[in-house]
């Protein structure tokens, strides 16, 4: 009887119940993404999605008045978000005069064999009509997406994004290493895991370089870390208050090096397969590092644009926010946070510090929750609806 139960749970750790997309990708959720090409189309996008529980407006602040390199970054991010496995169909909303190439976005999303409805505000002639047309399209796409049913797939189809935020001392001691143990399991089963936050490699990059799959990857880790350090120094060099944040400092973290050493433990121990640019899709399975900032909405946006269907978020002080397109599993090792912010914490791992739970046991609990959430169980941030923020990382000024 018990052996049968164990076999069942082992099987549960090998398969997930997901939406299979025409491009072969899989989804943990089944959303219609309403994507403004530029910030100026946000109002229309928001009103198009309003009241449809399975339509998500991806409101952001970019798309015009930026350097060419940043516009390309915005385009890649929007295409990545719109073609994430969690998205069944897309409403693309443009103003008509934006800097990003809307035809290019439309074609790239269409290539993933998703249905894309296009709403161009200036061409339609009024925002009221644009909203009406967008809502009609949205209703039709939702009905289309509803016909898709979940099916079994191997865990290796999963892309998991990892982030930590509102960190304190317990992050480095309990939740990050527990998440690290969790990371090792899907990577070993052929899945893909992406970890961002280049700023939080400063002072700990040697630990990542040691795990690089080859010399090219090792050099890339050093290069992106030094570039992030140069950017901070060029802007005056005082990161204190931002990295570590005032909250981190109150939580006992003194320097960026200390924060980084705690942060990199969430990457586990597997070899690092490659280094991705922000919002870049990995071309093969494995453990990847994505260049980008620690700032939460930008980090989560990059991970989902790179293909993550589920995000795992380690927090000490308790960060409640999720993401519109992907469930975010919150893990905390701070006993006070697990009690006080229990509405927002999916997995509490404070027993690692107070009751001697092993990191392996805590990591197994995190993995179980991740697989259940991938298969449809709602994460806390989805239940609370604290999941609207999107922000695209760009490197240059607005011009």
């Amino acid at each position: 009887m018990r052996a049968e139960g164990r076999e069942k749970s082992r099987r549960a750790e090998r398969t997930i119940s997901v939406y299979v997309r025409p491009d072969g990708n899989v989804g943990a959720r089944n959303y219609v993404a309403v994507v403004p090409a530029v910030a100026c189309a946000n109002d229309v996008a928001e009103q198009i999605a309003e009241g449809f529980p399975s339509a998500r407006a991806l409101l952001h602040h970019q798309g015009c008045g930026q350097l060419r390199s940043d516009l390309l970054l915005v385009e890649r991010t929007l295409i990545g978000l719109a073609t994430n496995g969690n998205v069944g169909a897309v409403v693309l909303v443009s103003l008509g005069c934006e800097g990003v190439n809307v035809d290019g976005l439309h074609d790239a999303i269409g290539k993933s064999r998703r249905r894309v409805a296009r709403v161009d505000i200036q061409a339609i002639g009024s925002s009221t009509r644009a909203v009406r047309r967008g809502r009609e399209a949205c209703r039709d796409l939702i009905a289309d997406c509803r016909r898709i049913r979940r099916g079994q797939a191997a865990v290796d189809r999963l892309v998991v994004g990892i982030k930590c935020g509102a960190s304190d001392m317990t992050s480095g001691l309990a939740s990050n290493p527990a998440v690290g143990r969790m990371v090792d399991a899907p990577v070993a089963r052929g899945a893909t895991v992406i970890v961002g936050e280049t700023t939080e490699f400063l002072g700990a990059e040697h630990l990542l370089v040691r795990r690089a799959a080859n010399r090219q990857v090792a050099r890339a880790i050093g290069r992106i870390t030094m570039a992030m350090q140069r950017r901070a120094l060029a802007a005056g060099g005082d990161m204190l208050g931002g990295q570590p944040s005032l909250g981190n400092i109150r939580g006992g973290i003194t320097t960026i090096e200390e924060k980084s050493l705690g942060a990199v433990s969430k990457t586990g121990s597997a070899p690092i397969t490659g280094v991705l640019d922000y919002a870049e899709r990995p071309s093969r399975p494995g453990l990847f590092i994505m260049d980008g900032p620690g700032f939460e909405p930008q980090a989560l946006t990059g991970l989902v644009a790179a293909g993550a269907q589920v995000l795992v978020f380690s927090t000490g002080r308790g960060a409640p926010q999720g993401f519109p397109l992907a469930p975010v599993v919150k893990v905390s090792g701070n006993a006070a946070t697990c009690r006080h912010l229990r509405q927002h914490i999916d997995v509490g791992v404070s027993d690692v510090l107070t009751r001697g739970e092993t990191l392996t046991a805590a990591g197994t609990r995190v993995l179980r929750t991740v697989l259940e959430v991938a298969s449809g169980r709602l994460a806390r941030a989805e239940r609370t609806g604290y999941d609207h923020l999107v922000d695209i990382y760009t490197r240059g000024p607005f011009v």
């Binding site: 001392m169 480095g172 002072g203 003194t254 320097t255 090096e257 006993a335």
Partner: protein, 100 residues
């Protein structure tokens, strides 16, 4: 939490010169920390909030503060055992504001 059952502070790596307080520690109290299997008693000199660091050895200005067995910054003042180790007496060796 069961007082007495849990150590007051944690040393993460044997090479560390700081420990992490697992609860609020009061000045003039004494706490036992386990260093490489041996228990050492440290007199607490500052109020140390839970999850913050206390010095295990004397750390001179410019000397490296070690946690996780790795450098986390350098001391900007002499730090005595039992003192609070934080932004008032440690700075980053990687990111430092320009001199004004």
């Amino acid at each position: 939490m069961r007082p007495g059952k849990q150590p007051a502070a944690l040393i993460i790596h044997p090479q560390d010169n700081v420990a992490v307080a697992l609860r609020d520690l009061d000045p003039a109290s004494r706490v036992d920390v386990r260093v490489q299997g041996r228990v050492r008693r440290i007199l607490i000199l500052d109020p140390i909030p839970a999850n913050h660091k206390l010095a295990l050895t004397r750390i001179r200005p410019g000397a490296i503060v070690v946690k996780y067995g790795e450098p986390i910054g350098e001391a900007t003042a002499t730090i005595h055992p039992g003192m609070h180790v934080h932004i008032h007496n440690v700075r980053s060796r990687r990111i430092r504001p320009r001199q004004r």
